[in-house]
Every structure is written in structure tokens, then in C-alpha cells.
């Protein structure tokens, strides 16, 4: 009651106050008012936020030694990062430099909250040509100046348990069909062992597979004029193919519908509860931390169906680095980004974060297994496609990812998902996008 009364009487006053606040709300492009310090928001790349801090601190200290610029670091979990960046952009208060998921590159560019990297800025970073072209392309809409540059590269691979495969006399699969056949062979429900484990309750993972399977079918998620197109046959069949791993092939434990992040399926794999997982190349550390020896698992490209139109095996995954438009240390921030994407820093961070190099001629350092390293590099440079480089990409991730969560949940709880259901769900997702 109290609130309502005060609202009525004090409303006009508050309105005036808001307008007053609003008047000083708009910000200007970066300045150099505080050249001695930087705030850096790093994304969570290692096993934990604490781990990341330990890994990054010496690297940042070296930067401070070289330049005299002090860097205060905060590592932010993936569940919070996007909201934190939104808040920082809205308020103009926040970090100077920030890590972003590279699939958000265009969406965040559209907000205008990130510093545009024109010719002059690119020169300060050591030139456009240093970066792998496809990776740099995620930094902005086609034909525009990017607003972020690649920092860590990632790609999907199919990890399999070599012992289980040997015991069953199976060869590593080269096609989707082989993969499903092997998974069926290795599924032993009584023992609680399944052919595959999926992060089927994670919208961030699910939307990637909607994309990859669609591309394998020769379909795209956007039309030529950058509008969403989620309901073409290729997309619908691709999504259904992925859902069917649990629904008709029955090679995935229905419990996986509750796996709301990739680590849970990695753990299931490492504990011998699943023979295969599809994961980005940073799984090694988690697998080994759970007690699996490096020789007991291997990774191969995520296979496409026999009659696939494209051999796409991953989206072009990774982390980009951006400078906030509201930075008060523009030159320092540029120096810092250049440093973090330098050969030395890439080499040093590539191993603990299991990242693929984003520089041309960069050598992967994330594993001593050269075969695995070469395989991921090949996928990353030749068989990976970027998610749609459009401002509504983030909405694709949530709408399609959530729709797949729901469909997996329905399958897990005994329901049936038909092709028509998939099409309807994708239509709903498409209609909800305000492009």
C-alpha cells in the first residue's frame, strides 16, 4: 500500500530526476585519462575461476613490468559474463578490456559499447594480417571494422575411449552412421554405460549442434539478407538427427537432459560412463583431472553423415578480446590486447587453457599429442564455420538452444518428438527473434 501512495505523490518529482540522470547518460569514445591502470575481465577458460587467476597473474605481471601499466583482473564465469557486459555497456562503468565468446562478436558490436577497431587501432595491434582470417571475421559484421580480435581458438572434436573401442573391436568412426553404430555397440544400460554423453540440458551447447548439423545438411540459419531461417529441411533434419541420439538410437542416457553444462558430460566420459563425447578441445585438462590417462582417450573430427553436403565438424569457436568504448586508457588497452595476442602470450596461455592459436603460423601448445593437435588445427582452419555473423546471433543461441533443452526434456521424460514438433519449435524460436 505504502508504495502505491508514494508512487502517486512523488511520481512527477522522480520523473524529473530520471530525466536529469538521463541527460548525463550518454558517453563518449575511449579516452586516455587514466594511462596507468587497466581493468580486465577474463572469461573462465580453465578448471575454475581461481585456477584462471593463478594462470593469468604472472602473464599480467610481465605486462606491468614491460609497460608500467597495472592490470586489475577479474575472472567471470560464463553464466554471468554476458549480463555483466550488458550492465557495463549500459552504465559506461566497467572494465577497459574484456573477453567475449566469439559468437557474441557481432551482437556486442551492434550495441556500440565496444571500441571500433579501425585502421589506426589495428595498426596499434600489429596489423590485421597477424590473425587467422576466419577467426578475425567473428569480430564484426561483414564489411565493417571489427570490434574484437581473436584471443583463444577452440574447435569441437569427437573424444572416444580407446580401451572401450579396442575391447569391442571397433574402429574410430568416420561417418555419423559409424558413430551411431559404435555407440549402440558400446551402450550397456545395465552397467550404466552409454555410447555417448551430451550436454543435452545446456542451451549454449545445444545451439552449436543445431548449427553444425544444419551446415552438414547444406542449410544455413540466415537468409542472404541476414534474416533468420530456422525451418528449412536441412535445419529441421539436423536438429532431429541430434535429438535422435537420445530418442531413437538410445545411445545417450536420458539423465543427460539435466546436464546443463559441458563439464558434466566430460566427467561422465572420464568416469567411463560414456564411450564418446563431442567437446571442444579444452576437454583434455578436465578429462585428465578426473583420472583418465592421456593414452586412454583420443579425439577425431566430429563426423558428418555419409551423404552430407558439407564436412563441417565444428563451429568456429573461441574467445575474442575487446576494448570497451568507455575506456579511460585507450592506448594502454590497445597495448594490452596486442600483448595478450602476441606469440609469447599465446604460447604461454595456449597450454593451460587448451586453446588453439589464433595467429597465422601459430603452433598449438595445448597437448603433447601431436596427432590430436594437428587434428584440431585442421578442424579449426578447414572444417569449422562461424555461427551467423548477424546482430541477432545471441537470440538464436537462447531461443533455439532453449527449444532443444525442452525437446530433450520431453524425450527424457518419456515423450515423443516428431519432425513436425521440431519444425514447430524452430518456427517459434524464429518468430521470437526481433531482428
Amino acid at each position: 500500500m505504502m508504495q502505491r501512495r508514494t508512487l502517486l505523490t512523488a511520481g512527477p518529482v522522480a520523473l524529473a530526476a530520471t530525466m536529469g540522470l538521463a541527460a548525463c547518460g550518454s558517453g563518449a569514445s575511449g579516452s586516455n585519462d587514466q594511462p596507468d591502470s587497466l581493468t580486465y575481465w577474463a572469461s573462465n577458460q580453465g578448471q575454475s575461476l581461481e585456477d584462471d587467476k593463478k594462470i593469468l597473474t604472472p602473464v599480467l605481471e610481465k605486462f606491468t613490468k614491460d609497460t608500467g601499466i597495472k592490470v586489475s583482473l577479474e575472472v567471470i564465469g560464463w553464466n554471468d559474463l554476458q549480463t555483466r557486459i550488458q550492465t557495463a555497456i549500459t552504465s559506461g562503468q566497467g572494465p577497459d578490456v574484456v573477453n567475449i565468446g566469439n559468437t557474441w562478436g557481432v551482437s556486442l558490436q551492434a550495441t556500440g559499447g565496444l571500441l571500433e577497431l579501425g585502421d589506426e587501432e589495428m595498426k596499434a595491434l600489429g596489423g590485421k594480417d597477424r590473425y587467422v582470417d576466419a577467426a578475425l571475421a567473428t569480430g564484426g559484421e561483414a564489411g565493417s571494422n571489427p570490434s574484437s580480435v581473436p584471443l583463444y581458438g577452440l574447435a569441437y572434436g569427437l573424444y572416444y575411449n580407446t580401451k572401450m573401442f579396442e575391447k569391442a573391436g571397433l574402429e574410430p568412426p568416420k561417418t555419423w552412421e559409424d558413430m551411431v553404430a559404435a555407440a549402440k555397440e558400446l551402450t550397456d544400460e545395465k552397467k550404466g554405460v552409454w555410447g555417448m554423453s551430451l550436454a543435452a540440458g545446456s542451451y549454449t551447447e545445444n545451439n552449436h549442434f543445431a548449427f553444425i548439423n544444419a551446415v552438414q545438411n547444406g542449410a544455413a540459419l540466415n537468409t542472404k539478407d541476414a534474416k533468420p531461417s530456422f525451418t528449412s529441411d536441412g535445419v529441421v533434419d539436423g536438429v532431429l538427427r541430434y535429438l535422435d541420439l537420445m530418442q531413437t538410437d538410445k545411445v545417450v542416457n536420458p539423465s543427460n537432459a539435466q546436464f546443463d553444462n559441458g563439464t558434466k558430460s566430460v566427467t561422465a566420459f572420464a568416469n567411463g560412463k560414456a564411450a564418446m563425447i563431442i567437446n571442444q578441445n579444452n576437454a583434455n585438462a578436465t578429462i585428465e583431472a578426473n583420472g583418465m590417462k592421456p593414452e586412454d582417450f583420443a579425439a577425431i573430427p566430429f563426423p558428418a553423415p555419409k551423404d552430407a553436403k558439407s564436412e563441417c565438424a565444428s563451429h568456429l569457436a573461441g574467445i575474442n578480446m575487446a576494448i570497451m568504448d568507455a575506456t579511460k586508457n585507450r592506448d594502454g588497452a590497445l597495448q594490452f590486447v596486442k600483448y595478450m595476442t602476441s606469440e609469447d602470450a599465446q604460447k604461454e596461455l595456449g597450454k593451460p587453457f587448451a586453446a588453439l592459436p589464433v595467429l597465422k603460423d601459430g603452433k598449438p601448445t595445448f597437448t603433447d599429442d601431436t596427432e590430436q593437435a594437428d587434428m584440431f588445427m585442421e578442424v579449426y582452419s578447414e572444417r569449422a564455420e562461424p555461427l551467423p555473423l548477424v546482430p541477432w546471433e545471441d537470440q538464436f543461441e537462447t531461443s533455439v538452444g532453449q527449444a532443444m533443452n525442452d525437446m530433450f526434456a520431453k524425450i527424457a521424460t518419456g515423450g515423443k518428438i516428431s519432425r513436425g514438433d521440431v519444425k514447430k519449435a524452430l518456427q517459434t524460436a524464429q518468430d521470437s527473434i526481433r531482428a
Partner: protein, 325 residues
């Protein structure tokens, strides 16, 4: 609405209560206003400004293209509202569905919490050995930090590793196969149970306090007249708790309808359709899709709905009160 409390600055001498003897001339002084000032400023900052900003946001197209320069977001009139209420679009349909889920959720949680709270308070009304232990025990859910409590439920309700399935399936054999509690249709049951678990101690606490004020003689007198315990409850306890009851129901309704924390902590990012409560729904509409205008329009609609319910409720209860007086 007519009983609006006028702000102090409007109280001129003419409007002062029409006390019969002419009041001695009071000197105007700024001191009372000065000590009110901090409270007013805080009230403005914490309640009013955000509310008004939210109201303003519901009329502009505040998408990611404008969050950087949000003052320049274009005015779109009622467009956000028409998107939110058009049930032929996925957005409107989602909101309607969420509204209905929330309504069912609220009625169940408030109803059952009320019943449990009342039963427990009446059971503990008379003094007996160990009463303090029960009181403490019953209040624990209310005293626990929300996040810790709800995340524990999340662990307990896991399909493969949760204690709920372990007890139901492995030990009691009530169910043949382990059900999912946090996805699919049963997610609704889960969120209702968790919310009741958190809410009923509050009802219990309020009733317990209310019962203290009922004179023991009333029970003695009615017992002499031969009233059964049920009759005593209906004709003594319930009417004497009238005021507590009216406030309690309203407060619980508003809290439960607005509950954000329980679904947010219980379900995390894998939010099931059956547990799509409205505050959480609006949060997702705003933050996951970066469409703060539509999100605000939904919030304003929610506020309007709750206001109407509150007004109707107060109107009815006050009229009843007057009739009884």
C-alpha cells in the same frame, strides 16, 4: 486510492484537522522536513526512480542497439505492450502460459502454506514439554539463507544422484524408475514443494504471534458451553485472527506471485516450461534476448495485475469488516 497521504509540504494550516478549539499558532519550522529528508531521498532512489525508469522503458525500443545510448532509444508507444499481450505470437503466448503457471503455483503455495502454518500454530498454542523445539524446527526453513536452501533442493532432486529418488526408488520402491524432478512436467511439483517449504514457516510465525493475543478466557468460556476444538477454532481462533489473516494472505500472495529466487536457483539456466514462473520469465525476456522494452512492458502489466488484485481484495475485506462491525 482516495486516501492518499498528502506529502507534508501540502499540509497548510487551513487543512489541519478540524479540532474544535482553535489550535495555538504553531511556528513553521524546517526541522521536521530536514530529518525526513534522508528517508525521502533514499525512498526516491531505491523505489521510485527504478519504478519510473521501468515504466519509461516499457514505452521505448530498448534493445541491444540502444543500451549504450539508452536515452536515445526510440519511443514506440504501446508497441511493447502489444507484443507482450498478442497471444498469437510466441512472445505473447509464452507470457500467457507463464502467467497461468504462476497463478496455479501461487494458489497452491499460498493455500497449502496457510493450512500448514495454521495447523502448526494451533497445535503449538498450548504449552507442553518440547514446544520450543518444535517452534525452532518449524522456523528453520525460513531462517536458512535462500541460496543455500534452494541449491540443496536442487541436489536432492537430481535424477541419478539425488536423495529424493534414492529414497523413493531404491529404498521405498514407491516408483519403478527414477523420475526427473527438475525437467519435464514434474518440475512444477518440485518448485511448488520447495516454495511451500520456504513459505509456510512465515505463515506459522504470523499465526503464532496472532494467537498470543487471544485471551485464554475465550477458550475456557467456549469449552464450558461445550464447544468442540473444531468449533473453538472456527468461532474463536479464526475470527480473532482476522486482521492477521487478511494481511498475511495478501502479503503471501504478492511474494509468491513475484517469486524470482526459487525458480532461478532451483532450475538454473535449464529452465523447464512447467516451472516457467513469471518473474523468471520476464528476466529471461529482458536479459537473454536483450529486449528490455518488452521486458519492462511485461513488468508493468504484472504490476497492474497485482495492483488490481490488491485493490479488489482490500475493497472486499474492508467492506466485510465494516459489515461485521
Amino acid at each position: 486510492m482516495t486516501s492518499t497521504t498528502a506529502p507534508p509540504s501540502q499540509t497548510t494550516e487551513n487543512e489541519e484537522p478540524q479540532a474544535a478549539p482553535p489550535a495555538p499558532r504553531r511556528r513553521r519550522t524546517w526541522f521536521p522536513y530536514l530529518i525526513l529528508l534522508p528517508a525521502l531521498v533514499l525512498e526516491l532512489l531505491i523505489h521510485i526512480v527504478p519504478m519510473v525508469t521501468g515504466f519509461w522503458m516499457s514505452f521505448v525500443e530498448l534493445t541491444k542497439f540502444f543500451i549504450r545510448r539508452w536515452t536515445e532509444a526510440p519511443f514506440v508507444g504501446l508497441e511493447n505492450y502489444s507484443i507482450a499481450v498478442d497471444i498469437n505470437t510466441p512472445v505473447g503466448q509464452g507470457l500467457l502460459n507463464s502467467f497461468l503457471v504462476t497463478l496455479a503455483f501461487t494458489l497452491l503455495v499460498v493455500g497449502i502454506s496457510w493450512g500448514l502454518g495454521m495447523a502448526a500454530a494451533v497445535a503449538l498454542q498450548r504449552s507442553f514439554r518440547g514446544r520450543a523445539i518444535f517452534r525452532t524446527l518449524f522456523l528453520i526453513p525460513y531462517a536458512l539463507p535462500l541460496y543455500a536452501a534452494v541449491i540443496t533442493w536442487n541436489f536432492m532432486l537430481q535424477r541419478d544422484t539425488g536423495v529424493v529418488n534414492h529414497v523413493l526408488v531404491d529404498q521405498l520402491h514407491v516408483m519403478d524408475s527414477a523420475p526427473f524432478w527438475l525437467i519435464g512436467g514434474k518440475a512444477f511439483t518440485s518448485v511448488v514443494v520447495v516454495a511451500i517449504w520456504r513459505m509456510w514457516p512465515f505463515a506459522f510465525l504470523m499465526f503464532m504471534a496472532g494467537l498470543q493475543s487471544i485471551p485464554e478466557e475465550l477458550y475456557e468460556a467456549s469449552a464450558l458451553d461445550g464447544a468442540s476444538p473444531l468449533r473453538q477454532w472456527r468461532n474463536v481462533t479464526l475470527p480473532m485472527l482476522g486482521a492477521v489473516n487478511r494481511t498475511l494472505l495478501l502479503v503471501m500472495f504478492l511474494w509468491v506471485f513475484n517469486d524470482f529466487n526459487t525458480p532461478y536457483v532451483l532450475f538454473g539456466t535449464a529452465q523447464p516450461a512447467a516451472g516457467d514462473l513469471i518473474s523468471f520469465h520476464i528476466y529471461n525476456a529482458s536479459f537473454l534476448s536483450w529486449d528490455f522494452g518488452t521486458g519492462s512492458a511485461m513488468s508493468v502489466l504484472l504490476l497492474a495485475f497485482l495492483l488490481i488484485v490488491t485493490l479488489v481484495y482490500l475493497f472486499i475485506t474492508q467492506r466485510k469488516e465494516k459489515r461485521n462491525a
